[in-house]
Symmetry: C2
Subunit: 420 residues, 2 copies
Amino acid sequence: MKRSIAKELTPHKAGQEVLLSGWVRKVRIVGGDLAFLILADGSGSAQIVLDGGLLDKIPPVESAITVSGVAQESRSREYPVELLADQLEVIAVADPLPFPLNHKVLEPGLDLLDRYRPLALRHPNMQTTFRLQHALIQHFEEFFTGEGFTRVTTPKILSTGTEGGAELFKVDYFGQTAYLAQSPQFFKQMLVGAGFERVFEVGQVFRAEEHRTSRHLNEFISLDIEMGFVSDVNELMTLEETFLNSLLEALAPRFGAKMVIKGAQKPMPRMALSDALAVLEKKHGKQSRDGNIDPEGERLISAWAEREYGVPAVFLHSYPTDIRPFYALAQDDDPGLTHSFDLIFRGQEITSGGLRIHNVAQLSQALAKRRLNPETYEFYLQVFRYGMPPHGGFAIGAERLTALLLGLNNIREASILPIF
Amino acid sequence: MKRSIAKELTPHKAGQEVLLSGWVRKVRIVGGDLAFLILADGSGSAQIVLDGGLLDKIPPVESAITVSGVAQESRSREYPVELLADQLEVIAVADPLPFPLNHKVLEPGLDLLDRYRPLALRHPNMQTTFRLQHALIQHFEEFFTGEGFTRVTTPKILSTGTEGGAELFKVDYFGQTAYLAQSPQFFKQMLVGAGFERVFEVGQVFRAEEHRTSRHLNEFISLDIEMGFVSDVNELMTLEETFLNSLLEALAPRFGAKMVIKGAQKPMPRMALSDALAVLEKKHGKQSRDGNIDPEGERLISAWAEREYGVPAVFLHSYPTDIRPFYALAQDDDPGLTHSFDLIFRGQEITSGGLRIHNVAQLSQALAKRRLNPETYEFYLQVFRYGMPPHGGFAIGAERLTALLLGLNNIREASILPIF
């Protein structure tokens, strides 16, 4: 008999022979000769009714089994159609579990969940997290493909540590020191100049930050875009806002109940960083020591935006030149500020973006000002000599956005295998 | 005026004011006071007609410009609608080019093309290659999403060199030696057991093969799938064949003329490796020294399949146990052979796949037989103790498939930035 999957057990199957395979999630014995078994598979779960000699065959929870029988309507609200089993085959018996998987939430601490990560992932909440992440990435790809962007894949082993020292992992590349990419920044700009004009990348990037926090990972998925012939940073913010709204709309039918998306589709306010710092000082007596906003400031300004504008997101723009990378484009009327922005979403920065310098002489000056060696950057500068258009882009951290959409406390909950 | 893109210059635009931005690909001066300029942008190219004082403003080829004027019908077959310019603004002037980009093919050797890679990518043939690669990867994702697979992203920095020694890049992980992933093999299996049941990954993998060949890269894009509750290797081959046929069908309308796909939609023959070796010996007097097929053998057997079956693809299966990894599932009736396969497509292997051992005792034995330390593999073995279903999968190299579809001679032509 051809295998069915749990989610196919709908009323029109009633009366038909059905075969299911999956994991024994839960068993409830009623009166000694009847059992209700919840079977989980990759599509969801189904209720199986067993009686007679089949009861003795039920293996420990989380064992893999195949059951067959006739589908019938049931009185259960959760499972309106159930399977009355006439055969049960045990495929693989599970050892006793280190923690229960059939409770509503996963109760052990993160350490135990890390130690048994693949097993913990079987919990429905974890399954939801990564199915949402799948849908999120797929929507990103479809949205930007629809906007004329080309998907690219840029090198992750770099011969030069052009992105700055301390946070780079070193690789032994046939006896020479190479580095793991922290971001596709230079490459995506080069590919705009290489004639693709609009590119996106879904790729892993690497940050050697030893002190793990609940907000950072050593490897994460960066959703990057970069586009040419753009000269107003508002175009980039509008594009990101349009993307995020279309994302929430696409996710809502499947995940709406799990996400807190209140107000997210209202216009997202845009304010200069200096104005945000002034609000923090005025409302919270909070002083910035370095002219930048810190994690506490991000939480406060986000809560402020939610109170003032009814949307849990705020674009901060016009960051000072000296706290942005050398390639950030300075504003004509105030060279101390850049055409750049961060998006704060539900209390955390999820995006950095902005316009970049496209004039090669200006870019060389910007390198010199930071005492960076132009020879090291020659691979990057080259295409700027062949008609580089004005351009800009941004990047979104996929795990962080996943965690914020679902209200997860720790970003590691949004990284499928964070500890290998 | 809002910018249009080249491909929007269709007959219904005739008579309208249009503004285009892009690169000056070609200039033809006619009679001294009229010029035809081909402008390339991310969407394609357009013909611009300039006269009078505008001729003096035309910058060197590959410079970035913006032109505006009125769209009009033309007598050109390639550009039925052209732009009669009344304004031209130079955005960024290009230096003299190291090689022409407006010839039908790129003439310089690979070394020069590598040295000026971003510039070379502007050539229409290169653009086609990576737009096809985009479409290929997107089709892979859509096809397997439609088949109930979940997109996953697995770690690329590994604490143990479980995949074997010589071909691994070493990473300095906070003072400890770690390794770059050669494949997501163990992780994708673990995620099948983690309840996702069917997973796919589009990810970069790393191979420290020092001697570059025209068939290998140090980093490449691996299109991986793995699925649970499968116990017949034919199911995997059928799934891959269905995917490839649907891919060719999806690519044909956009790229058909560039691809040689003759016969590719006929059934792909499946034969045991030993039978393939026998054919090679009988038809070509070719002996295998190690019981495996070599690159020349792949070319010959592929050509043979094309002659015999009219399709440029052949599945070879039943590889000997000792030339497959320890996790390959042995055949019940002949433990010297595995339930595994390679797909040879247009003369080269593009896929390795097969069923895996799912019984934890059998897997421990397989490790012991290869003298591998089970403690090193504990991260992998763990989930096998909790009801691991029978499973299998395969991987396709995206660059190699791109190169074979387009008939490129060197796989580096199918890697967008292969040399950084």
